[in-house]
């Protein structure tokens, strides 16, 4: 799978950003996206988008340390 991921990543980077692999290591990093994809697959369905507007900054405030 990682070879396919590397090849597809190369196409994506070229097509969307006009960027070519800068060196041989780039292919290894791109192939490493297979692990990222697997991680996303594992958590599919765990969390849903919230209907109401929110933000991470609001969550920081909601969950912050309260001084007595």
């Amino acid at each position: 799978m990682s070879d396919d991921v590397g090849r597809l990543a190369e196409e994506q980077a070229k097509l969307w950003s006009g960027i070519a692999p800068p060196n041989a290591a780039a292919g290894e990093f791109a192939s490493g996206l297979a692990a990222v994809i697997a991680g996303l697959e594992r958590v599919r369905g765990d969390l849903l988008f919230e209907d109401e507007p929110s933000s991470f900054e609001a969550a920081l405030q909601e969950t912050k340390e309260r001084t007595p």
Partner: protein, 487 residues
């Protein structure tokens, strides 16, 4: 050693707070402190390569001016006369700011970072700019353009990154503290690997104005220093809202230093049962458990607890900063790809293939995951403790991607396994030295709290340092390597 040299060496052994106090009392001049810092760089930096540029003449001139002020009975602030140096990504008007890169080798910003300005307004003297990972993007200390920074405890080993020079310069006793930046662990990793204390505040706690951007969602500005008290003093100065950075928090900044009472009675410490200890080296685990024992000895209670959504946290944390960095670097990646190191060019490249839909998904889940953590974990414990790094400090050779070291990519990404999720969650986190491995390299553990719980986690770190001496250990530098001293 002459009496003069011995006195200069003794000055470098002070903590930041002790140095500032000595100036305040008139026991030492700002010039003497600054000269001792410059002498320490001159004597030891050939071994460590912690600096990129030093401003000797300007630093001494500033010190002379501060001495005149003090003689006139005026102190600028709580860092009056204290020499510092910072990661070379903080803009200072008219000064070169390389960001550890070839691309910005001749970059001269026209304005000064808010954190630097606040430190200088508090009386600190900026003696120079410190080595760092190219554009703050590796956890090891490699730098293909300015030379690798080396661990002062053993120069074959990684100092940690990306704030490599900050960790090495503080550990080597060149300066009393240094700013680093932390997007996935870049303050805490060099703090742990070099045996010093380093804190990243809550996301948005410190202004990022004038700090080279890497990831707008995860970048943090913070100090590395010798003690939790030193970090508390620096953080109080740099924290707080800044109109130049509208994303900075308006939350009031407490007096972190005044809150350091070392009292842990009633404190509940959570130790994650999932993820953070997976595959940890036995020596790291032993040092971590011993550290927990010290905190229990001060009256803290511990609870082994599972953290929710760690798979999701890791999956999403791997995306956010990678995509944002790729976006920031897109133009240079098109026009000057040859000017990046092999490692960074490859690392950035992968970011262009991640679909935007997953980036948005990753950002949208931050709040819900943080709320779940607060509900399920911070309802039961006050802080979380984990090793900062699960493995022993690796060598520079074993993690040298540019040289094609086998397994280097995996070895490098494993370094930040315990720190990266904390950035995604936006929590404050402090790394504290807690021992040495069998290679003589430091081990650290990190303490996390709820958002804006910097005072609490600094007090836990301070309490630990009241009963241990790891933070007082300093390496003995030699020109061709480094010998060890242990407490």
């Amino acid at each position: 050693m002459t009496d003069v040299a011995a006195r200069a060496w003794a000055l470098t052994r002070l903590t930041l707070v002790e140095a500032a106090e000595a100036v305040r009392k008139g026991e030492v001049t700002c010039v003497a402190l600054t000269q001792s810092a410059l002498d320490a760089f001159a004597a030891g930096d050939a071994a460590v390569n912690a600096s990129i540029a030093l401003d000797r003449a300007e630093a001494l001139e500033t010190a002379e001016g501060l001495d005149r002020l003090r003689k006139a009975g005026r102190l600028l602030g709580p860092l009056h006369g204290v020499p510092l140096a910072h990661k070379d990504m903080y803009y200072r008007a008219g000064k070169p700011c390389t960001c550890g890169s070839k691309i910005r080798r001749v970059f001269r910003p026209t304005y000064t970072a808010t954190a630097i300005r606040r430190l200088e307004e508090a009386g600190s003297i900026t003696v120079g700019a410190l080595n760092m990972a190219e554009f703050a993007q590796n956890p090891t200390g490699h730098n293909a353009h300015f030379g690798n920074c080396r661990n002062p405890w053993h120069t074959d080993y990684c100092p940690g990154g990306s704030s490599s020079g900050s960790g090495a310069a503080v550990a080597a006793r060149f300066v009393y503290a240094a700013l680093g930046s932390d997007t996935g662990g870049s303050i805490r990793l060099p703090a742990a690997m070099c045996g010093v204390t380093g804190i990243k505040g809550t996301q948005t706690r410190v202004s990022r104005y004038g700090a080279m951007p890497l990831s707008f969602s995860a970048d943090n500005v913070g100090p590395l220093a010798r003690t939790a008290r030193d970090c508390a003093r620096v953080l109080r100065i740099i924290a707080g809202h800044d109109t130049a950075d509208p994303t900075s928090a308006t939350e009031p900044v407490p007096d972190y230093e005044a809150a350091l009472d070392g009292n842990l009675r009633g404190l509940r410490i959570g130790i994650p049962t999932n993820f953070f200890l997976d595959g940890a080296d036995p020596e790291v685990l032993a040092a971590f458990e011993a550290a927990i024992g010290v905190l229990e000895g001060r009256g803290a209670a511990t609870l082994r607890i599972a953290l929710p959504h760690m798979d999701a946290t890791n999956a999403y944390a791997a995306i956010v900063s990678r995509v944002e960095a790729a976006a920031i670097h897109a133009q240079w990646m098109r026009e000057r790809p040859q000017d990046y190191s092999v490692h960074l060019g490859g690392r950035l490249y992968a970011g262009y293939a991640i679909p935007a839909v997953h980036y948005v998904e990753a950002l949208s889940r931050r709040g819900p995951i943080l709320r779940a953590l607060a509900r399920e974990v911070f309802g039961k414990v006050d802080v979380l403790a984990t090793p900062t790094i699960r493995r022993e400090v690796p060598t520079l050779a074993a993690t040298d991607i540019d040289a094609g070291a086998p397994g280097a990519v995996e070895a490098m990404s494993a370094i930040s396994a315990n720190t990266r999720p904390i950035n995604y969650l936006g929590l404050p986190s402090v790394s504290v030295p807690c021992g040495f491995d069998s290679n003589g390299l430091p081990i650290g553990f990190q303490i996390q709290g709820r958002p804006f719980a910097e005072a609490r986690i600094l007090n836990v770190a301070h309490a630990y340092q009241q009963d241990t001496a790891w933070h007082e250990s300093a390496p003995v530098l030699h020109m061709k390597g480094a010998a060890l001293t242990r407490p």
